[in-house]
Protein backbone atom coordinates (compact mmCIF):
# COMPACT_ATOMS: atom_id res chain seq x y z
CA UNK A 1 0.00 0.00 0.00
CA UNK A 2 1.19 3.51 -0.69
CA UNK A 3 2.16 5.74 2.16
CA UNK A 4 0.50 9.12 2.45
CA UNK A 5 1.94 11.86 4.58
CA UNK A 6 -1.18 13.21 6.27
CA UNK A 7 0.77 15.88 8.11
CA UNK A 8 2.38 17.19 4.93
CA UNK A 9 -1.01 17.19 3.17
CA UNK A 10 -2.29 19.53 5.86
CA UNK A 11 0.94 21.54 5.77
CA UNK A 12 1.81 20.57 9.33
CA UNK A 13 4.73 19.20 11.28
CA UNK A 14 4.34 15.88 13.09
CA UNK A 15 3.37 16.67 16.62
CA UNK A 16 1.08 19.51 15.59
CA UNK A 17 -1.56 20.32 18.19
CA UNK A 18 -5.19 19.31 17.79
CA UNK A 19 -6.05 22.94 17.35
CA UNK A 20 -3.47 23.40 14.60
CA UNK A 21 -4.87 20.36 12.79
CA UNK A 22 -8.38 21.77 12.92
CA UNK A 23 -7.21 25.19 11.73
CA UNK A 24 -5.22 23.71 8.87
CA UNK A 25 -8.23 21.65 7.81
CA UNK A 26 -10.57 24.63 7.90
CA UNK A 27 -8.20 26.75 5.84
CA UNK A 28 -7.73 24.02 3.21
CA UNK A 29 -11.43 23.11 3.16
CA UNK A 30 -12.24 26.73 2.47
CA UNK A 31 -9.72 26.66 -0.38
CA UNK A 32 -10.44 23.29 -1.95
CA UNK A 33 -13.95 22.19 -1.03
CA UNK A 34 -15.55 21.43 -4.39
CA UNK A 35 -18.70 23.31 -3.39
CA UNK A 36 -16.91 26.59 -2.82
CA UNK A 37 -13.65 26.30 -4.74
CA UNK A 38 -12.71 27.29 -8.25
CA UNK A 39 -9.28 25.66 -8.07
CA UNK A 40 -8.70 23.31 -10.99
CA UNK A 41 -8.06 20.14 -8.94
CA UNK A 42 -10.28 21.11 -6.05
CA UNK A 43 -12.10 17.81 -5.75
CA UNK A 44 -8.96 15.71 -5.72
CA UNK A 45 -7.19 18.05 -3.33
CA UNK A 46 -10.11 18.15 -0.97
CA UNK A 47 -10.36 14.37 -0.87
CA UNK A 48 -6.74 14.20 0.29
CA UNK A 49 -7.26 16.92 2.84
CA UNK A 50 -10.45 15.35 4.20
CA UNK A 51 -8.83 11.94 4.42
CA UNK A 52 -5.86 13.38 6.32
CA UNK A 53 -8.15 15.27 8.66
CA UNK A 54 -10.47 12.31 9.32
CA UNK A 55 -7.48 10.37 10.58
CA UNK A 56 -5.54 13.04 12.43
CA UNK A 57 -8.50 14.61 14.25
CA UNK A 58 -9.30 11.33 15.96
CA UNK A 59 -6.91 10.58 18.78
CA UNK A 60 -6.91 6.79 18.34
CA UNK A 61 -6.56 6.95 14.61
CA UNK A 62 -3.79 9.50 14.86
CA UNK A 63 -1.85 7.25 17.24
CA UNK A 64 -2.36 4.31 14.91
CA UNK A 65 -1.20 6.42 11.98
CA UNK A 66 1.88 7.66 13.85
CA UNK A 67 2.70 4.04 14.73
CA UNK A 68 3.08 3.29 11.00
CA UNK A 69 6.33 5.26 11.09
CA UNK A 70 7.49 7.85 8.60
CA UNK A 71 7.93 6.99 4.95
CA UNK A 72 8.34 9.13 1.87
CA UNK A 73 4.92 10.01 0.44
CA UNK A 74 3.83 7.63 -2.31
CA UNK A 75 6.26 4.87 -1.30
CA UNK A 76 5.04 1.29 -1.06
CA UNK A 77 5.15 0.12 2.53
CA UNK A 78 3.72 -2.45 4.93
CA UNK A 79 2.59 -1.63 8.45
CA UNK A 80 5.06 -2.97 11.05
CA UNK A 81 4.37 -6.58 12.10
CA UNK A 82 3.05 -5.73 15.55
CA UNK A 83 0.86 -2.93 14.23
CA UNK A 84 -2.11 -5.18 13.59
CA UNK A 85 -2.04 -6.68 17.07
CA UNK A 86 -1.83 -3.30 18.65
CA UNK A 87 -4.48 -1.51 16.63
CA UNK A 88 -6.63 -4.38 15.47
CA UNK A 89 -6.65 -6.71 18.46
CA UNK A 90 -9.09 -9.15 16.90
CA UNK A 91 -6.81 -9.78 13.95
CA UNK A 92 -9.70 -9.21 11.63
CA UNK A 93 -7.36 -8.11 8.88
CA UNK A 94 -6.39 -11.46 7.61
CA UNK A 95 -9.74 -13.09 8.07
CA UNK A 96 -11.55 -10.19 6.52
CA UNK A 97 -9.14 -10.04 3.65
CA UNK A 98 -9.36 -13.65 2.73
CA UNK A 99 -13.06 -14.07 2.78
CA UNK A 100 -13.61 -10.85 0.93
CA UNK A 101 -11.21 -12.00 -1.73
CA UNK A 102 -13.19 -15.16 -2.13
CA UNK A 103 -16.62 -13.70 -1.96
CA UNK A 104 -17.11 -10.33 -3.37
CA UNK A 105 -14.62 -10.01 -6.16
CA UNK A 106 -15.17 -13.49 -7.50
CA UNK A 107 -11.74 -15.12 -7.56
CA UNK A 108 -8.58 -13.20 -8.29
CA UNK A 109 -7.86 -12.54 -4.66
CA UNK A 110 -5.45 -9.72 -4.13
CA UNK A 111 -5.08 -10.29 -0.43
CA UNK A 112 -2.92 -13.36 -0.53
CA UNK A 113 0.11 -11.97 1.26
CA UNK A 114 -1.02 -10.56 4.54
CA UNK A 115 -4.21 -8.65 4.04
CA UNK A 116 -2.91 -5.20 3.14
CA UNK A 117 -2.56 -5.37 -0.59
CA UNK A 118 -5.35 -3.76 -2.52
CA UNK A 119 -6.13 -1.60 0.45
CA UNK A 120 -5.83 2.10 0.46
CA UNK A 121 -4.18 3.68 3.48
CA UNK A 122 -7.48 5.35 4.38
CA UNK A 123 -9.16 1.93 4.56
CA UNK A 124 -7.00 1.06 7.56
CA UNK A 125 -8.46 3.95 9.48
CA UNK A 126 -12.00 3.47 8.24
CA UNK A 127 -11.75 0.04 9.80
CA UNK A 128 -10.73 1.51 13.10
CA UNK A 129 -13.90 3.54 13.14
CA UNK A 130 -16.09 0.45 13.14
CA UNK A 131 -13.62 -1.60 15.13
CA UNK A 132 -12.13 -1.43 18.60
CA UNK A 133 -15.18 -3.00 20.17
CA UNK A 134 -17.53 -0.13 19.36
CA UNK A 135 -20.27 -1.52 17.14
CA UNK A 136 -19.68 -2.76 13.65
CA UNK A 137 -17.94 -5.90 14.74
CA UNK A 138 -18.13 -8.38 17.57
CA UNK A 139 -21.64 -9.01 18.82
CA UNK A 140 -24.73 -7.97 16.94
CA UNK A 141 -23.71 -6.43 13.66
CA UNK A 142 -25.51 -3.29 12.77
CA UNK A 143 -26.54 -2.91 9.17
CA UNK A 144 -24.73 -0.19 7.31
CA UNK A 145 -25.82 1.51 4.12
CA UNK A 146 -23.37 1.37 1.22
CA UNK A 147 -21.50 4.50 0.28
CA UNK A 148 -22.82 6.84 -2.37
CA UNK A 149 -20.43 7.52 -5.15
CA UNK A 150 -20.38 10.61 -7.28
CA UNK A 151 -18.34 11.09 -10.43
CA UNK A 152 -18.06 13.69 -13.17
CA UNK A 153 -18.70 12.40 -16.67
CA UNK A 154 -17.56 14.68 -19.49
CA UNK A 155 -19.34 13.98 -22.77
CA UNK A 156 -19.07 15.48 -26.24
CA UNK A 157 -21.82 17.26 -28.17
CA UNK A 158 -22.04 14.16 -30.38
CA UNK A 159 -22.57 11.99 -27.27
CA UNK A 160 -25.31 14.30 -26.07
CA UNK A 161 -26.92 14.23 -29.49
CA UNK A 162 -26.91 10.50 -30.03
CA UNK A 163 -26.49 9.06 -26.53
CA UNK A 164 -23.42 7.04 -25.68
CA UNK A 165 -22.01 4.24 -23.61
CA UNK A 166 -19.23 4.91 -21.19
CA UNK A 167 -16.95 2.51 -19.41
CA UNK A 168 -16.75 3.09 -15.70
CA UNK A 169 -13.91 1.65 -13.68
CA UNK A 170 -14.63 2.44 -10.08
CA UNK A 171 -12.85 1.42 -6.95
CA UNK A 172 -15.69 1.59 -4.52
CA UNK A 173 -15.39 1.30 -0.78
CA UNK A 174 -17.54 -1.65 0.21
CA UNK A 175 -18.21 -3.72 3.27
CA UNK A 176 -17.15 -7.31 3.05
CA UNK A 177 -18.75 -10.23 4.86
CA UNK A 178 -17.02 -9.17 8.09
CA UNK A 179 -18.35 -5.65 7.94
CA UNK A 180 -14.95 -4.29 6.97
CA UNK A 181 -14.56 -1.57 4.44
CA UNK A 182 -12.37 -2.33 1.49
CA UNK A 183 -12.01 -1.17 -2.05
CA UNK A 184 -13.64 -3.38 -4.61
CA UNK A 185 -13.11 -2.74 -8.29
CA UNK A 186 -16.29 -2.48 -10.30
CA UNK A 187 -16.30 -2.19 -14.03
CA UNK A 188 -19.46 -1.55 -15.86
CA UNK A 189 -20.78 0.10 -18.91
CA UNK A 190 -23.26 2.86 -18.39
CA UNK A 191 -25.59 4.00 -21.09
CA UNK A 192 -25.91 7.77 -21.18
CA UNK A 193 -29.26 8.42 -22.80
CA UNK A 194 -29.58 10.92 -25.61
CA UNK A 195 -30.46 14.32 -24.30
CA UNK A 196 -28.02 14.42 -21.43
CA UNK A 197 -26.50 17.85 -21.23
CA UNK A 198 -24.29 20.10 -19.18
CA UNK A 199 -25.05 20.22 -15.47
CA UNK A 200 -27.48 17.32 -15.56
CA UNK A 201 -27.26 14.51 -13.10
CA UNK A 202 -28.05 10.89 -13.52
CA UNK A 203 -28.66 8.60 -10.60
CA UNK A 204 -28.00 4.92 -10.83
CA UNK A 205 -29.82 3.42 -7.87
CA UNK A 206 -28.00 0.71 -5.97
CA UNK A 207 -24.82 0.98 -8.03
CA UNK A 208 -22.75 2.66 -5.34
CA UNK A 209 -21.03 0.71 -2.60
CA UNK A 210 -22.81 -2.42 -1.35
CA UNK A 211 -24.65 -2.16 1.92
CA UNK A 212 -23.70 -4.41 4.80
CA UNK A 213 -25.96 -6.79 6.66
CA UNK A 214 -29.20 -5.67 5.06
CA UNK A 215 -28.20 -2.01 4.70
CA UNK A 216 -29.28 -0.55 1.40
CA UNK A 217 -26.76 -0.28 -1.42
CA UNK A 218 -25.35 3.16 -2.10
CA UNK A 219 -26.24 5.03 -5.24
CA UNK A 220 -24.03 6.13 -8.05
CA UNK A 221 -24.42 9.71 -9.19
CA UNK A 222 -23.11 10.86 -12.54
CA UNK A 223 -22.65 14.57 -13.09
CA UNK A 224 -22.70 15.29 -16.79
CA UNK A 225 -20.48 18.01 -18.19
CA UNK A 226 -20.31 18.94 -21.83
CA UNK A 227 -16.88 19.28 -23.39
CA UNK A 228 -16.38 22.53 -25.29
CA UNK A 229 -16.98 22.19 -29.02
CA UNK A 230 -15.16 24.07 -31.78
CA UNK A 231 -18.42 25.33 -33.34
CA UNK A 232 -21.33 24.93 -30.94
CA UNK A 233 -21.87 26.54 -27.56
CA UNK A 234 -24.53 24.86 -25.48
CA UNK A 235 -27.05 26.49 -23.20
CA UNK A 236 -29.22 23.76 -21.79
CA UNK A 237 -30.46 21.92 -24.87
CA UNK A 238 -30.07 24.94 -27.15
CA UNK A 239 -26.97 25.32 -29.26
CA UNK A 240 -25.41 28.53 -30.51
CA UNK A 241 -23.28 28.75 -33.62
CA UNK A 242 -21.44 31.80 -34.92
CA UNK A 243 -22.52 32.64 -38.48
CA UNK A 244 -20.08 34.99 -40.20
CA UNK A 245 -21.64 36.90 -43.13
CA UNK A 246 -20.10 39.21 -45.71
CA UNK A 247 -21.62 42.74 -45.68
CA UNK A 248 -23.42 42.17 -48.98
CA UNK A 249 -24.86 38.84 -47.77
CA UNK A 250 -26.31 40.59 -44.72
CA UNK A 251 -27.65 43.48 -46.81
CA UNK A 252 -29.09 41.53 -49.73
CA UNK A 253 -30.00 38.33 -47.93
CA UNK A 254 -28.81 34.90 -48.91
CA UNK A 255 -29.17 31.24 -48.22
CA UNK A 256 -26.28 29.46 -46.51
CA UNK A 257 -25.51 25.93 -45.48
CA UNK A 258 -24.89 25.68 -41.74
CA UNK A 259 -23.65 22.68 -39.79
CA UNK A 260 -25.92 21.16 -37.12
CA UNK A 261 -25.17 18.06 -35.02
CA UNK A 262 -27.67 16.16 -37.18
CA UNK A 263 -26.09 17.24 -40.49
CA UNK A 264 -25.97 20.37 -42.66
CA UNK A 265 -29.09 22.48 -43.02
CA UNK A 266 -29.97 25.34 -45.42
CA UNK A 267 -30.65 28.56 -43.59
CA UNK A 268 -32.33 31.54 -45.22
CA UNK A 269 -30.69 34.80 -44.21
CA UNK A 270 -33.21 37.57 -44.74
CA UNK A 271 -32.20 40.84 -46.42
CA UNK A 272 -31.15 43.45 -43.86
CA UNK A 273 -29.84 40.99 -41.27
CA UNK A 274 -27.94 42.78 -38.50
CA UNK A 275 -24.84 41.70 -36.65
CA UNK A 276 -25.70 40.05 -33.34
CA UNK A 277 -29.09 38.87 -34.58
CA UNK A 278 -30.02 35.27 -33.77
CA UNK A 279 -31.43 33.18 -36.60
CA UNK A 280 -33.32 30.26 -35.14
CA UNK A 281 -33.29 26.75 -36.51
CA UNK A 282 -36.07 25.11 -34.54
CA UNK A 283 -35.42 21.61 -33.13
CA UNK A 284 -31.87 21.49 -34.49
CA UNK A 285 -30.26 21.65 -31.04
CA UNK A 286 -29.78 18.80 -28.59
CA UNK A 287 -32.56 16.26 -28.05
CA UNK A 288 -34.36 16.18 -24.71
CA UNK A 289 -35.30 13.01 -22.89
CA UNK A 290 -38.91 14.08 -23.32
CA UNK A 291 -40.53 16.59 -25.64
CA UNK A 292 -39.16 18.66 -28.48
CA UNK A 293 -35.42 18.99 -28.97
CA UNK A 294 -33.71 22.28 -28.26
CA UNK A 295 -33.12 24.87 -30.96
CA UNK A 296 -30.01 25.89 -32.78
CA UNK A 297 -29.31 29.60 -33.07
CA UNK A 298 -27.01 31.08 -35.68
CA UNK A 299 -25.46 34.19 -34.13
CA UNK A 300 -24.77 36.64 -36.96
CA UNK A 301 -21.33 38.17 -37.26
CA UNK A 302 -20.61 40.60 -40.06
CA UNK A 303 -17.06 40.19 -41.22
CA UNK A 304 -15.28 42.32 -43.77
CA UNK A 305 -12.58 41.34 -46.23
CA UNK A 306 -9.17 42.59 -45.17
CA UNK A 307 -7.72 42.53 -48.69
CA UNK A 308 -9.39 44.41 -51.57
CA UNK A 309 -8.30 44.83 -55.16
CA UNK A 310 -8.69 48.16 -56.98
CA UNK A 311 -11.98 47.25 -58.64
CA UNK A 312 -13.55 46.20 -55.34
CA UNK A 313 -12.31 49.33 -53.60
CA UNK A 314 -13.84 51.42 -56.38
CA UNK A 315 -17.18 49.69 -55.85
CA UNK A 316 -17.09 50.47 -52.12
CA UNK A 317 -16.24 54.11 -52.94
CA UNK A 318 -19.21 54.21 -55.25
CA UNK A 319 -21.43 52.80 -52.51
CA UNK A 320 -20.07 55.36 -50.05
CA UNK A 321 -20.90 58.18 -52.42
CA UNK A 322 -24.41 57.06 -53.28
CA UNK A 323 -25.60 55.80 -49.88
CA UNK A 324 -27.57 58.06 -47.54
CA UNK A 325 -27.40 55.51 -44.71
CA UNK A 326 -26.54 57.11 -41.37
CA UNK A 327 -25.55 54.39 -38.93
CA UNK A 328 -24.89 56.87 -36.11
CA UNK A 329 -27.84 59.20 -36.50
CA UNK A 330 -28.85 58.68 -32.87
CA UNK A 331 -25.55 60.16 -31.62
CA UNK A 332 -26.80 63.65 -32.43
CA UNK A 333 -30.05 63.22 -30.58
CA UNK A 334 -30.70 65.46 -27.61
CA UNK A 335 -29.21 64.29 -24.35
CA UNK A 336 -25.98 62.91 -25.80
CA UNK A 337 -23.93 65.57 -24.02
CA UNK A 338 -23.97 66.80 -20.47
CA UNK A 339 -24.13 70.45 -21.42
Amino acid sequence: MKYKDYYAILGLERGATEDAIKKAYRRLARKYHPDVSKEPNAEEKFKEVAEAYQTLKDDDKRKAYDALGTHPAGQEFQPPPDWQQQWEPSGAWRAGGKSAGGQSTGGESSFSSGGFEGLDLSDLFDRLRGGGGRGGRGGARASMPGEDYEIAVPITVADAYGGTEIDLDLNMPEYDAQGQLRRVPHAFKARIPRGATDGQRLRVPGKGGKGFNGGRNGDLYLNITLRPHALYRANGHDLYLDLPLAPWEAVLGTSVEVPTPGGPVRLKVPAGTQAGQHLRLPRRGLPKPKGDPGDLYAVVLIVVPSVLDDAQRALYRQLEETSTFQPRAHFSEEGSYAS
Binding site: A29, H33, T105, P145, D148, K189, R201, R203, Y240, D242
Partner: protein, 112 residues
Protein backbone atom coordinates in the same frame (compact mmCIF):
# COMPACT_ATOMS: atom_id res chain seq x y z
CA UNK B 1 -14.46 -8.78 -12.95
CA UNK B 2 -18.01 -8.62 -14.14
CA UNK B 3 -19.00 -6.13 -16.76
CA UNK B 4 -22.61 -5.21 -16.95
CA UNK B 5 -24.54 -2.68 -18.89
CA UNK B 6 -26.46 -0.34 -16.69
CA UNK B 7 -29.34 1.83 -17.71
CA UNK B 8 -29.26 5.32 -16.33
CA UNK B 9 -32.16 6.72 -14.46
CA UNK B 10 -32.97 10.31 -15.13
CA UNK B 11 -32.19 12.06 -11.92
CA UNK B 12 -34.95 14.53 -12.70
CA UNK B 13 -37.65 11.88 -12.54
CA UNK B 14 -36.99 10.68 -9.05
CA UNK B 15 -39.59 11.50 -6.37
CA UNK B 16 -39.14 10.54 -2.72
CA UNK B 17 -40.74 11.10 0.70
CA UNK B 18 -39.04 12.87 3.59
CA UNK B 19 -37.99 9.62 5.25
CA UNK B 20 -36.62 8.31 1.95
CA UNK B 21 -34.78 11.59 1.52
CA UNK B 22 -33.28 11.12 4.98
CA UNK B 23 -32.21 7.61 4.08
CA UNK B 24 -30.74 8.65 0.73
CA UNK B 25 -28.74 11.52 2.16
CA UNK B 26 -27.88 10.32 5.65
CA UNK B 27 -29.29 13.51 7.16
CA UNK B 28 -31.55 13.14 10.20
CA UNK B 29 -35.23 13.77 9.42
CA UNK B 30 -35.30 16.59 11.99
CA UNK B 31 -32.50 18.43 10.21
CA UNK B 32 -34.27 17.94 6.88
CA UNK B 33 -37.48 19.35 8.37
CA UNK B 34 -35.58 22.43 9.49
CA UNK B 35 -34.05 22.82 6.06
CA UNK B 36 -37.50 22.55 4.52
CA UNK B 37 -38.99 25.12 6.87
CA UNK B 38 -36.13 27.52 6.15
CA UNK B 39 -36.72 27.08 2.43
CA UNK B 40 -33.30 25.58 1.68
CA UNK B 41 -35.01 22.41 0.49
CA UNK B 42 -38.34 22.64 -1.26
CA UNK B 43 -40.93 19.91 -1.67
CA UNK B 44 -42.60 19.53 -5.07
CA UNK B 45 -45.97 20.64 -3.71
CA UNK B 46 -45.68 22.62 -0.46
CA UNK B 47 -49.40 22.29 0.26
CA UNK B 48 -49.45 18.50 0.16
CA UNK B 49 -50.06 16.72 3.46
CA UNK B 50 -47.23 14.27 2.84
CA UNK B 51 -44.46 16.27 1.16
CA UNK B 52 -42.74 14.69 -1.83
CA UNK B 53 -39.29 15.68 -2.97
CA UNK B 54 -37.85 15.69 -6.45
CA UNK B 55 -34.39 15.70 -7.93
CA UNK B 56 -33.65 19.30 -7.00
CA UNK B 57 -34.40 18.59 -3.34
CA UNK B 58 -32.37 15.39 -3.37
CA UNK B 59 -29.46 17.26 -4.82
CA UNK B 60 -29.85 20.08 -2.29
CA UNK B 61 -30.11 17.64 0.62
CA UNK B 62 -26.98 15.76 -0.44
CA UNK B 63 -25.30 19.10 -0.73
CA UNK B 64 -26.46 20.06 2.77
CA UNK B 65 -25.09 16.84 4.18
CA UNK B 66 -21.69 17.49 2.58
CA UNK B 67 -21.53 21.07 3.79
CA UNK B 68 -22.60 20.15 7.29
CA UNK B 69 -20.00 17.43 7.59
CA UNK B 70 -17.12 19.15 5.88
CA UNK B 71 -17.52 22.60 7.41
CA UNK B 72 -19.17 21.75 10.73
CA UNK B 73 -22.08 24.05 9.89
CA UNK B 74 -24.93 24.38 12.34
CA UNK B 75 -28.61 24.48 11.45
CA UNK B 76 -28.64 28.28 11.24
CA UNK B 77 -25.60 28.61 9.02
CA UNK B 78 -26.52 25.75 6.72
CA UNK B 79 -29.50 27.35 4.92
CA UNK B 80 -27.61 30.65 4.70
CA UNK B 81 -24.60 29.04 3.00
CA UNK B 82 -26.85 27.01 0.74
CA UNK B 83 -28.78 30.11 -0.25
CA UNK B 84 -25.59 31.95 -1.17
CA UNK B 85 -24.21 29.01 -3.12
CA UNK B 86 -27.52 28.74 -4.95
CA UNK B 87 -27.26 32.37 -5.96
CA UNK B 88 -23.74 31.82 -7.23
CA UNK B 89 -24.98 28.85 -9.25
CA UNK B 90 -27.77 30.91 -10.76
CA UNK B 91 -25.35 33.70 -11.66
CA UNK B 92 -22.91 31.28 -13.21
CA UNK B 93 -25.71 29.73 -15.21
CA UNK B 94 -26.70 33.18 -16.41
CA UNK B 95 -23.10 33.92 -17.35
CA UNK B 96 -22.82 30.66 -19.30
CA UNK B 97 -26.03 31.45 -21.08
CA UNK B 98 -24.84 34.95 -22.01
CA UNK B 99 -21.52 33.59 -23.21
CA UNK B 100 -23.28 31.05 -25.38
CA UNK B 101 -25.46 33.73 -26.95
CA UNK B 102 -22.77 36.26 -27.70
CA UNK B 103 -20.46 35.75 -30.66
CA UNK B 104 -17.39 33.81 -29.62
CA UNK B 105 -14.49 34.94 -31.77
CA UNK B 106 -15.50 37.94 -33.78
CA UNK B 107 -13.63 38.38 -37.04
CA UNK B 108 -11.87 35.06 -36.75
CA UNK B 109 -13.10 33.88 -40.11
CA UNK B 110 -12.60 37.12 -41.99
CA UNK B 111 -10.44 36.86 -45.06
CA UNK B 112 -10.27 37.91 -48.67
Amino acid sequence: MRVELTEMLWFEEHVVSLSELAELTGLPAATLEELVSSGAIEPIDASAAEPRFGAVALSAARHARRLREDFDLDTQALPLVMGLLERIDALEQQLRSLRARSPGRPGRRSGP
